[in-house]
C-alpha cells in the first residue's frame, strides 16, 4: 500500500464520517430549517473530502475532482437557500423553541399596509 492511497483513504473516510453526521442531524433536528442547516454544511464538506480523497488515490483524476469541488461549493448553498426561502413563503412554521422570527414580522407589517 503506497502512501498516497493510504492518505486518500483516510480523507475519504473523514468525508464519509461528516456525511453520516449530517444524515444524523437531518434525522434528529426538530424542524425544517435546522435540518437544512445540518444537511447543507455536512454535504458540502463531506462531498469535498470524499472527492479529494479519490483525487489523491488516483492523482491523474485530481484536475477533474478539483473542478467538481468548485462547482459543488458554488451551487450547494444556492440550492439550500432556494429551498429555505420557498419553505418560509409556503408558511412552514419554525419549531416552538425558536426565539425570534424577523421575516414573519416583516411580512405581517406588509400585509397591514
Amino acid at each position: 500500500m503506497s502512501w498516497n492511497s493510504l492518505l486518500g483513504s483516510i480523507i475519504t473516510l473523514l468525508g464519509s464520517i461528516f456525511l453520516f453526521l449530517g444524515a444524523l442531524g437531518v434525522y434528529r433536528m426538530p424542524d425544517l430549517y435546522n435540518r437544512m442547516q445540518a444537511g447543507t454544511k455536512s454535504t458540502t464538506l463531506g462531498t469535498m473530502l470524499t472527492l479529494l480523497g479519490i483525487g489523491i488515490c488516483h492523482y491523474e483524476w485530481l484536475g477533474q475532482v478539483l473542478i467538481l469541488i468548485i462547482f459543488i461549493a458554488l451551487t450547494n448553498p444556492i440550492s439550500s437557500h432556494a429551498l429555505a426561502r420557498a419553505a418560509h413563503f409556503k408558511g412552514i412554521p419554525l419549531t416552538a423553541k425558536s426565539v425570534t422570527d424577523k421575516l414573519k414580522e416583516e411580512e405581517s407589517k406588509a400585509e397591514v399596509l
Binding site: L24, Y33, M36, Q64, L66, L94, K97, L103
Partner: protein, 162 residues
C-alpha cells in the same frame, strides 16, 4: 474594448475547464473547443464579468478562499458536536442583518458564505437586508447580529468587489 477583454477571458476559462476535464493532447480538439467557447462567450456577452486584475484584489481573493475553507471545517465540527449530544443544544430563530455591499456578485458570495459558515442559513434577501436563520441566536437586534455574522466576510468582499 472592455467587452472584448471579457469575451477573451471567458473563452480562455471555458477552454481551460475543458482541457482539465478531458486531459486531451490533440491540438485539433482544443482548437474546436476554443471556437465553441468563443461562440458561447459572444452569445452571453452582456452577462460576463470583467476579470479581476489588480494584484491586491487577487491576493485578497486567494486569502478569502482559505478563510472560507477554515470556516466550512469549523461549521462541520459545530454541527457534528450538536447532533451527537443526547439533547440537541439549539436556540434557533430568524434574524435580520444589513450589508454594505453593492455589487450583485459580492452579495451572492456573501449569502453563499453565510450559508456555509457555522450555524447560519440565508433564508431571504431583500435589497441590502438579509434574513438569516441562526441555530443559536446570540443577539436578536439588527446591529449586534450584523456585527457577529456579516462583518467578518464584508472586510474581504468589500476589497474584492469594491
Amino acid at each position: 474594448m472592455n467587452k472584448i477583454v471579457k469575451i477573451v477571458f471567458s473563452t480562455i476559462v471555458l477552454t481551460l475547464f475543458y482541457f482539465i476535464w478531458t486531459r486531451t493532447t490533440s491540438v485539433n480538439n482544443i482548437l474546436v473547443i476554443a471556437g465553441l467557447g468563443l461562440f458561447v462567450s459572444i452569445i452571453y456577452r452582456n452577462y460576463l464579468r470583467s476579470p479581476i486584475l489588480s494584484p491586491k484584489k487577487i491576493a485578497y481573493a486567494i486569502f478569502y478562499v482559505f478563510y472560507l475553507f477554515i470556516e466550512i471545517i469549523k461549521a462541520n465540527i459545530d454541527v457534528a458536536l450538536r447532533v451527537i449530544k443526547p439533547v440537541i443544544p439549539i436556540n434557533p430563530g430568524i434574524v435580520k442583518v444589513k450589508t454594505k455591499l453593492k455589487s450583485p456578485m459580492g452579495r451572492l458570495l456573501l449569502t453563499s458564505s453565510i450559508t456555509l459558515t457555522p450555524g447560519t442559513l440565508t433564508v431571504d434577501i431583500d435589497g441590502d437586508t438579509l434574513y438569516i436563520h441562526w441555530i443559536d441566536v446570540k443577539d436578536k437586534e439588527e446591529s449586534g447580529a450584523t456585527e457577529k455574522i456579516v462583518s467578518n466576510f464584508e472586510k474581504y468582499l468589500e476589497v474584492i468587489f469594491g
